[in-house]
Structures are given as C-alpha cells and as structure tokens.
Amino acid sequence: MRPEVPLTSPSLAAPLGATGTSLKAQLHRAERMRKLRAFALVLPLLVFLLITFVAPILDMLRLAVVDRDLSSVWPHVTQSIGAWTDRSKVPPPAVFDALATDLHDSYHARTLPLAARRLNYALDNGRTLVFGTARRLPETSADWRATLIEIDPHWGDLKTWAAIDQASGPVTSFFLLAAVDRQKTADGHIVSTPSSQAIYVEVLTRTFKVSFTVTLLCIVLGFPVAYLLATQPPRRANLLMILVLLPFWTSLLVRTAAWIVLLQEHGIINHALVWLGIIDAPVRLIYNRIGVYIAMTHILLPFLILPLYSVMKGIKPSYMLAAKSLGASPTEAFIRIYLPMTLPGIGAGALLVFILALGYYITPALVGGAADQMISYFIAFYTSDSVNWGMASALGSVLLVATLLLYWVYDRLVGISNVKLG
C-alpha cells in the first residue's frame, strides 16, 4: 500500500499562476488585447450598420406613431381639445374659439395646406372643409361655435372633431390602425374601416401570397439546377454556375424590362406558343399575376440555388451509395437520405427568397397589373407621391412585424440552426 498523502484540494481555492495572481485574471489580461483588436476590426462595419440600417428602422418605427403635423400649425385647438370630454356632443365653445384663432393665424401664415393635408388623411372632405372655412372666416364673432357651423355644417359633426382630436398628437395610433384597415370612432372604439376604403389587409395578404408562391416556384425550379451544379464535373459546373450568376451582372431594371419584351402580347413567348400549337391566340402574360410570378421567380432564383448548391456540394456521394447498398431503391434513397440532408439549404434559400420577395417593388410595378401591387408599392407611393410619412412608416412597421412573426414561426418549425447558407 502507498502511504496516504494529504491532499490539498485545488478546487478549494482558485488556482494561482506563476506571479501569484489567479489564472483567470491572467487569461483575461492575455485575451483582452486580442478581443480589443478584433472589436476594432468590426467597428467600422458596426457603425455603418447602425447609421444606415438600425437608425432608419428605429426612425421609421417612430414616424409610424409620431404625429405633429397638425399641432405644429394649429397649436391652440390641438391643446384645448383636451377639454372635449363628453364625446356624444360637439366640443365646448372654448375649443371652437381656439379653432377660429388657429384658422385665422395659419391662413395668414400660409401654413393652412399642412393642416388641410393632415385632416384630409382622416376626412374625405378635409381639404375643402379647411380651405372653405378659412376663406369665409369673419374677423370676429361672439359665438364661434355658431359661426363656424354656419359656414360649414361639418363643424357640428362628431367625426370631424374626432379626426382633429386624433391628429393633435404628439403620438397617434391613426396610421398603424389604418395600415391594418382599422379606425377609431369619436368615442374611442376601434372599428373596421368601411370595405370600400379597406385595402391594406388585402395588399398585405397578397404580398405574402405572391412571396410564398414565388418561393415555392424557386424551390421547384432551383432544386434540379442546384443538383446538376453539385454533381457535374467541376469544369461544366463552373460554366453552369456562370449562367446562374449571369442575371446578377445585369441591372434589375434591365432584366424586368427584358421580361416585358418577352412576355408582351406580340412577344417571343406568345409567338412561340402559338407556333408550337399550344395555344390558338396570344394569351395575356404580362400586367397580371402570371407576369409577376415569372419575372420575380427568375430574378430571385439564384438566391435559392446558391445556398442549396453549397449544401449539396457538401453531401458526399458515399451517402447515396451506402443507402443503395443497404437496399434502398434510387427513389427511396433520394427521398429518405438525400432530400433530408438538403433541407438546411432549402430552408436557407427559401427564407432568403421569401424575405427578399416581400420587399419587391420595381418588378411587380412594371410587369404587374393594378391588382398585383405589393405592399412596397404603397410604401413608395406614400413616401414619394403623397409625402405621407406616417402612413408609409406604419405600413413598413406592419410589414416588419409580420416578417418577424413569420421568422419566429419558421424558427419554431424548422429551427434556424438548421439553416445553412454556405
């Protein structure tokens, strides 16, 4: 027997290094410089992303709820509207007085169009009401309530005052509600927008439907191509890869325009189909959903092929050989072995295509009809045509939230760790 040696347990005290300081502290010091250097390397990109990506998104979310258009030009009425407590009647006289002051002031300051535009978002007759009243406004009045209602009876309308109340800021739910076809009544209830004006839910559904279909088409068309690329000898695979990447070298606009040439009623494709006897007369392939599907699938196809190809490239041929030697027919080996092994690639490609498709704007705008416009079209319309930043931001926020929600569901179903981009 060996004599018992008294053991000093190293676990009782932190192990000490050569200089007496703890090993952990030494490790930290040794690692610090390396970490700092690594951080300095990513810093430029981090700053760039913060400025060009994170900040605009945050600003967009802010603009969707901030509403200062009216309060900046009509300070009195937007402040005194707080006195309007009994929502079953028109506001008290003081509010009418404030409105008269504001109308008068902004008429002379030439800021009336701002107020008119903001009220026009919520009221069909907003512009006429504001301009008409301001033009006919007398200098003084003993009872502004009576005078104003006399000028335009709409001032006695609860709807008008609810619109002013909701537009008086500084924050509002008006745009976000409108983006999902909802609105607030005068007494604060949220109700559906009348179906004649409700379009955004349908547009959002359409956006997701088109994106989903395009993703599906990309999978169906891209899978065989990726398989071909991954299984051909390197020389031919390279050539094919160039063909896949070729569209990337052309501008999106040019490619879309090319589709217009190809798909039009007297275009090559219609002629070819007629010549082959598949159809009797040219069919409509453009300015409708078919055109959108064709052009978007073509443009987004490489985004599915590339990740799928890189995953397929990593699948050694011995898996299929093993499956066959173990008794699986080629079809069975494909379905039970090959297909499941490509799922991370399909997952990554599909996610990429779907998210890119959600934001597509130019292609549907050029090759689609009026009923094929996706949500980005409306966002673009509100930012550049009607300069309604609140509405544009609200639609953007809804799209962002819907996409994140979908991503979460996707993560739950597929698991984002199962996604391989390369």
């Binding site: 050694k316 011995s318 898996y319 050989l321 093993a322 499956a323 066959k324 030697s325 173990l326 008794g327 699986a328 027919s329 080629p330 069975e332 080996a333 039970r336 072995i337 499941p340 092994m341 799922l343």
Partner: protein
Amino acid sequence: MSDSDPLVSFRRVQKTYDGELLVVKDLNLDIRRGEFLTMLGPSGSGKTTSLMMLAGFEVPTHGEITLAGQSLRDTPPHKRDIGVVFQNYALFPHMTVEENVAFPLAVRRVAKAEQKTRVARALDVVKLGALGHRRPGQLSGGQQQRVALARALVFEPKLVLMDEPLGALDKQLREHMQIEIKHIHENLGLTVVYVTHDQSEALTMSDRIAVFHEGVVQQLDTPHGLYERPSNSFVANFIGENNMLGGTLELVDAGSCRVRLDDGTVIHARAGCGDGAGRRVSLSLRPEKIDIEPADETANKLRATVKETIYHGDHMRVRLDVLGNDDFTVKMRYRANRVVPKPGDVLSIGFAERDCLALDAPH
C-alpha cells in the same frame, strides 16, 4: 450448388474509366463462402474498383461477376444484398444510431417490432447497445465505425464488403478494431471482402489475401504463404520488409537453386523463379532471417559494411552496404554482452538456404 462452390467469382473482368487505361486488367478471383478475403495493394492498383464493381457502383467494361452462381450484370446495387462499410462510414447524419441501423430493415419493410429486436442485437454485436439514441455526430470515430458495421450486418447480407474501414482511426484503435472485426467474422460466419493498403492489417485479419498491382492480382494466398513464398519480387517487397540482391541463375534442382552474385559469390537459395541458367534473378532476404557473424556451418555468407545502427528497444536494426546495396537491413536481436556494431565496421552476414528465395528480377 454445393458449399464448396465459390460465393463470388470474377471472370475475366476488366474496367477502364477513360477508354485508354485499364484500371483492372484481367481479374479472375474466387471468393469462398465464409472466408475473410483481403484485396491488398498500393493506391491505384485496382482493388477499390474491383470492390465497387462487386457492390454494383461501377460497371465492368468486360467480363462477368457472379454472386452465389447468379450473374450480377443486371442486378442494381440495392438488389444485390451486399453490405458495404465505407471508409468515411457514411452514417446518415440526420438519423439516430438506431435509425441508421434500422435503415436496411425499414427499406425491406420489416415489421417494426422485429426491426427493434434485430437492431438491438446488431448493436450488441458491436458493443454499442447503450448509444442507440445518439446521433452519429456525437460519437467518436471508433464508435461510428461500429455503427457502420452494425448497419452492414443487420440485414444478414450474403456478403460484407469493407473499403478501408479503419483508415481514419488512430493506430491503437485500429489494431483493436482489427481483432474485433475478425471475431465478428468468426462468430457470425460471414463472408467478408476487405480492401486495404495496409499490409499488416491484411496479414492480421485475412484468411486469404489477393495482392493487387497495376490492375492484376499478383498472388492469391494465405498470409503465411504470401510472406514465406512470395511469387514475385513485387509481392516480396510489398508484404513485410525485404532485402534484394541481384544475381544470375546457374542451376535449378528440385526446388533449390544456385545463384552467382555480381561479385562472383555463389548463393544457395530456394527457387521461386523460372528455369534456365543465365536468367537474371533477385534474391529476397527477410531482415529477421539474417545473422550477423554467423556460425561456421551457415550455407551462405557475405561481407558487409555497417552504415548505421538504429535502436528499437527489443531489437536493433543495422543498415549495411552489401555488394553496393547500401539499404540492406538486418534485424538484430538484443542479447546481453553482445557487441554492438558501429558504423564503418566490416563484418560477415549469413543466412540459410531456406531463408533465401530467388525470384525473377523485375523488368
């Protein structure tokens, strides 16, 4: 057909990939039922191609392969009933160990309950009973190898093929697995065709070894036969260590022969060469069968100059210059109070007639 008929036979099999070079030139090989046959050879010798043709992954360009008397010409791989163990294991990463092993049974539509018992039995054979729920990625190389083995055995194939299955393992584990695979072969009475380029692996495991070189089987024999009676100088050099001395044949008589070396010394050797005085031969000498400072009655003696000595613990290797061949190695057993040669010493070496084999000189 009887049990003595071969299970597999290659008949005049040729294979070319590019239409110019024959990877397998003319393969005629019978594999017996229940034997462990190894295809041994350097890379590019055609051994793996031969195995792949047997498995059905490559098609012979000429000739025929039969399995249990049936031609395999029109049988696709999945209908051949041959288990294959690949070098990189090829375990399906998206399935657990149990699912991997159950795969051949599942595609054969074996009932679930029977699958379960057979998978458990197969995993027990390879001593992995407890790891059935793990994924292949969570196993060590040796464990993955066992799973691959279990998967190739579970459907009780007529034949198991192994393509360098131990190539990726470290030396110790490899030697351990060699013995284990050998035991499984003996216990289950399998027929195994094993491909390797490692001659010690082949010697350890095989009943018979087919030595491949340049698309031709050089010799098909038991390990003992290959080592003791190599049929040509390629086999003599490839299996074990070997020293070669060139000479001219003088006389052949009843298995013995007399060879005159280039310096005029006459050597008595076993004849493993063609007949006819005056033909060039190579004398094959194993390093462990040569004595340094031999006894007087030793049949053959030569002078040698010591070039280098290398200590190996249980023995010592002495590199000598013999008749201009300065890579002539002798294994010297370690004995107490034995004088250790030093570089530059000139000494005498000797060997018996039975330990020296005259082979046709390589062209």
